[in-house]
Symmetry: C2
Subunit: 149 residues, 2 copies
Amino acid sequence: MKFSTKGRYGLKAMFDLAVNHGEGPITLKNIAHRQDISEHYLEQLIATLRRAKLVKSVRGAQGGYMLNHPPEEITVGDIIRSLEGPVGPADCVMDADSDECSNQESCVTRLVWARIQESVNDVIDTTTLADMLEDQEKMNNKKNYMFYI
Amino acid sequence: MKFSTKGRYGLKAMFDLAVNHGEGPITLKNIAHRQDISEHYLEQLIATLRRAKLVKSVRGAQGGYMLNHPPEEITVGDIIRSLEGPVGPADCVMDADSDECSNQESCVTRLVWARIQESVNDVIDTTTLADMLEDQEKMNNKKNYMFYI
DNA sequence: TGAATTCCAAGTATTTTAGTCGGAAATATT
DNA sequence: AATATTTCCGACTAAAATACTTGGAATTCA
């Protein structure tokens, strides 16, 4: 029930871009270094994010990547789903056309999976990169307060 | 972000035992057949459930498995965790001693993973096998109603 | 005694994960 | 124009996890 490194690294990278939003293109090298991710591997992930139109790129020297939308308009769900595919605890609640389970409508365990999926979706679809930036602010304020007492 | 067959088959098997609760030992063969699971594979899973004291077994001819507690007292979380280990979207929120992430307390993505974990835990820890039996009842009632109109 | 059944330990094929490798194409700077 | 920087692209790969299978020993009921 873990996300793979795709989703986990992907969110870290996107948050990094959110922190540096508005400062022109950010190189993959810098993101990879700051977030401690293999550069070549992150390249694959960001290619997926680019195809999903979550980031845009500038090629050539002084190029790099930028968010394709303001942080308020990008949810954690957008990021995770583009990298991991549909989110959920079992196939039968993820794809509409999962014929794996023969007794679709009368399956009680399916109800449980559906509740889990719903609650995860609720979190990831209501959390934006802007929310994460706010969280960061709060953390820093608290840290500074702790430092001065 | 899927559960493996361990958790999925395990819940199905436990629900099967809940349906047949109070009717003496149920053979693995029957459970495996009804739930369409490889008998030998289910054997491994139920061994884990036995060690976790969620089921008890009766050996020999006419033997089988029974719930070790009434359905009201067994949660989906008990079952899943015994088979899958700790539940959560990333290591840093699952094990207390995950040194994977160096900046534990100031990591914003970690906050997101923590929220996801909390919401999943909430579902699986508040859903018991008895709740699932109730869901089954409701489904059957609805089906019968649909049939008669 | 014999059939049914749980218990146990190993082995294995397939898939997924988490990358690596090598180079082509584009662009800014000098 | 040359060079350095950077994205883009496709193929390859080692290691781990998944989802089993195999074979047989131990236990109990009839």
